[in-house]
Every structure is written in C-alpha cells, then in structure tokens.
Symmetry: C2
C-alpha cells in the first residue's frame, strides 16, 4: 500500500469524478480532498485487516477490492466486492468500532483515503453530507440483509438461484445477460459456498437449459423457470412436512 502523493488539485478532480461524490457540493469535496491521500494496493495484498481501527474512510478509484471475513477453515466469507466509485469503512468510523472485515485487492487498485477526523467533522457539520451518509448506510444495511437472506437458504441450489434472480428482481423479461462481478470462487464465497459446489450448481442449471454459462458470462434463458425452480424447492420441502406424496412435487420442479 504505497502512497502516491498526488498534487491536491489532481486529487480533488479525481474525487469529483467518482460516483461516490457525485452531486456533492464542490467546496465540500475540496475540503475532503485536502485531507485525503491516494494509495496503490497491489493485487493480493491486504492493506487492512479485520479488527483494525480504521483511520480513514476509503473510496475505490480503480481496480477491485474484496471485503471478507476470514473463516476458521482458512477460507473466507466475502461481504462485498467493491467496484470503482464505491466506498467502505464509514460505519466503522461513525460507530468507533473496529473494522468488521478484512480488505484485500482482487487486482492492482487505486484507493483514496479520506482522513477520519476530516470525514467525521464534515459529516457532523454538513447536513447534506449527513443525509447522503444516512442514505448510503441505510442502503448498505438493506443490501447486507438481502445477502444474509440468500446465504441463509438451506439448499445450495437455492442460494445460487436466488443470487441469479436478484440481479434483475423487477424485470418481466425472460432472458437476462449477467456477467459475474468477480471470479467464480469469490462469488461462491459471497454465497457461503465452496467454488466446487457453486460450479456444480451452475452446471446443474445449465444442463436443465435454464441458464447458459460462458466463463464469467451467465445468460438466464428463462427467468420464470428459474423462479419456478425456486418455489418448487420450497414446495417440495413444505410437502415433506405435510406428508404429501413428494413424487408429484418432484415432477413439477423441472416441468418448465
């Protein structure tokens, strides 16, 4: 994590172009830029660890980061894959609690670090920024709860189905082209699965013809059938409870 020490003017310009600061007051961004630094994070290095007390709020300029919780078996549970223009660390600063996740770079990345004190000062004195933060953190909480829902599903097939569905929840179109926002192993870790299981489930769905997988590009061929399979898994499990012949349910699952 090497500092770049860009001239302040250039740093301000970079920041004002980032989606994170879009729509913010120019003077505000300038004040923040005056207390910020830009860093380079090399691929597979880990600039911050779970349990650290962060001294900055961070915004990704380029590259990709993953926020993850290290697990006891040596693997990791990915909380978020950070794309350029997205930020992290705000909640830690606002609560004064240590970072709840570790950070590492999926590839060489550039990160802007806003000094914690400057950040907190601006949040507390600039109502517009406070409002922006309230919206941001609220949205992040909602997203986290959605992720929790997905990875709480008892069936691994269902987790994958839900993951695919939630990429276009409100669409009535049948076909959707998704390309995965990262390596398959990282997506798997976000769903609480191993890469092997994730691969098997994608293969299974591919055999059924419901999706087509081409490397990182996933094409949903029939969103309705995907939804059907989702509820069919529920039905099957519910039926087991109600002691109705599960053969009927099994027939419905892949009926299309």
């Amino acid at each position: 994590m090497n500092s770049l020490c860009l001239p302040p003017a250039q740093l301000r310009d970079t920041m004002s172009r980032l989606a994170y600061f879009r729509g913010w007051d120019t003077a505000l961004v300038s004040r923040l830029a005056a207390n910020s630094k830009q860093f380079v994070v090399a691929k597979d290095t880990c600039p911050l660890s779970k349990g650290d007390m962060p001294e900055h709020m961070y915004v990704l300029v380029s590259g990709q980061l993953r926020l993850y919780i290290p697990l006891s078996n040596g693997s990791e549970r990915i909380v978020t894959l950070v794309a350029p223009g997205e930020g992290f660390g705000e909640a830690s600063l606002l609560t004064g609690l240590v970072l709840p996740y570790s950070v590492s770079a999926c590839r060489d990345s550039h990160v802007i670090a806003v000094d914690a004190h400057a950040y907190l000062r601006e949040v507390s004195t600039t109502p517009a920024m406070m409002g922006a933060m309230l919206n941001l953190i609220s949205m992040r909480l909602m997203v986290t709860l959605r992720d929790l829902e997905i990875c709480s599903q008892p069936s691994s097939l269902q987790r994958v189905i839900r993951f695919l569905i939630c990429h276009q929840p409100n669409a009535d179109v049948e076909e959707i082209a998704i390309d995965l926002p990262g390596r398959k192993r990282d997506i798997a870790a976000k769903l609480g699965l191993t890469q092997e299981t994730f691969s098997r489930m994608l293969g299974h769905l591919g055999q059924q013809g419901v999706i087509t997988v081409n490397g990182g590009a996933v094409q949903i061929n029939s969103l309705s059938r995907l939804r059907q399979m989702d509820v069919a898994i529920c039905d099957k499990e519910i039926l087991k409870i109600r002691e109705i012949d599960p053969g009927q349910a099994a027939g419905r699952i892949f009926a299309g």
Copy 2:
C-alpha cells in the same frame, strides 16, 4: 394488531420514557407522538411480512418481537430479537425499499408506530434526529455484520462458542453469567442452527465443564478455555491444510 388509541398526552409520555427516544428534544418527541399510534400485538401473530412496504417506523414498548427471514424449509432465520425500547423499520423507510424481514411477536407486545411521513419529515429537517439515525443505523449495520460473521463459521460448535464469547468481548473476567435473550430455538435460528444442534453443542460444552446451563441461564465458567477451544478449532483446520500431524492439535483442543 389492534390499535389502542391512547390519548396523545399519554402516548407522548410513554415515548419519552423509552430508551429509543432518550436524550431527544422534547418538542421533537411531541411532534412525533402527534403522528403515532400504539398497537397491541398478540403472541404468535405476525403484524408485518417480508415484502410489505412499511408505513411506519416502529418502537417496541413491552413484550418481545422477532424479525426473521422465512426459509424454504419452513423454518426461519432470525435477524434480531427486539427488546423493549428498541425500534425497527427505519432503513426500509429511508431507502423506500420493502421490509427485508417478517415480524412476529414472541409474546403479547405493545408497539408504537410512528407515521412514515412524519418520521421522514423530522429526520430530514432536524439535524439532531438525523445524526441519531445515522448512529443508530451504522450501529445496526455493524451488529448485522457481526452476526453474519458468527453464522458464517463452518463449524456449528464454533458458532455457539462465538455467540457466547461475543456477549462479553472485552472482559478479562473468567466467569460470566448470561441469560439467553429468548427461547433456545430462537437463539438457534439466529445462529443458523436447528434447535437440536444448538442443544447438542451446549450439552457438549457443558460436559467439558466450560459452561453450565440451567434453562435459559448460561454460566461461562472459563472464558479463556472457551477462547482456546475457538482457536483450537481453527488450528486443527489450519493444520490439516499444512499436513502436520493432527493428533497434536486434537490433544490441545480439550486440554484446558
């Protein structure tokens, strides 16, 4: 969910006594109270379902609620057990998204419902309230991430250990008395376990002498041994990777 239609003055007094509104401006609480109602929620009834668009922000006066995500196998993943003086629904209102969890009453409860429009109006016009909300939601996000960490642990024994430890994370005392904030089945559902597995793990820890269980009262006899067991599980798994004789590790796990 029957409305009580308390006189406004009494409603305001009730609210001002709740921990949720502690430290807030009196006039602010009064304005909110003018747009609030109090409800009775009978045990095991479900006033709000996942996917509803909430029209209020809620604060629990008495009783206990559980916020949970219904799962495909008919069971549920509990997000939070709500105690008196705690609130919920803010993030949904702030983001305009539907409720990410269902609500049901663990026992007969009283709930105050603040009108959504009044709530949002006060948040946006009262900086102090906006700040309070920012702190509240940030803290909630941190807690949610901690829960995510616990329930992401691959070993069920470790989930229980982490759950017990995090009830007194900063203490250097050896013995801690905890009483579970709800039925064991609900705690289990919060850890992503079945009640059977939870019971088995508690029993296991009890046999080791590390804890003592008496109904809903759990006594940690040796916090350090509990921590040792936690890291021992990690070590054992890590050692497997490094191909070191796991017999040594197995000996350490329960050595105390």
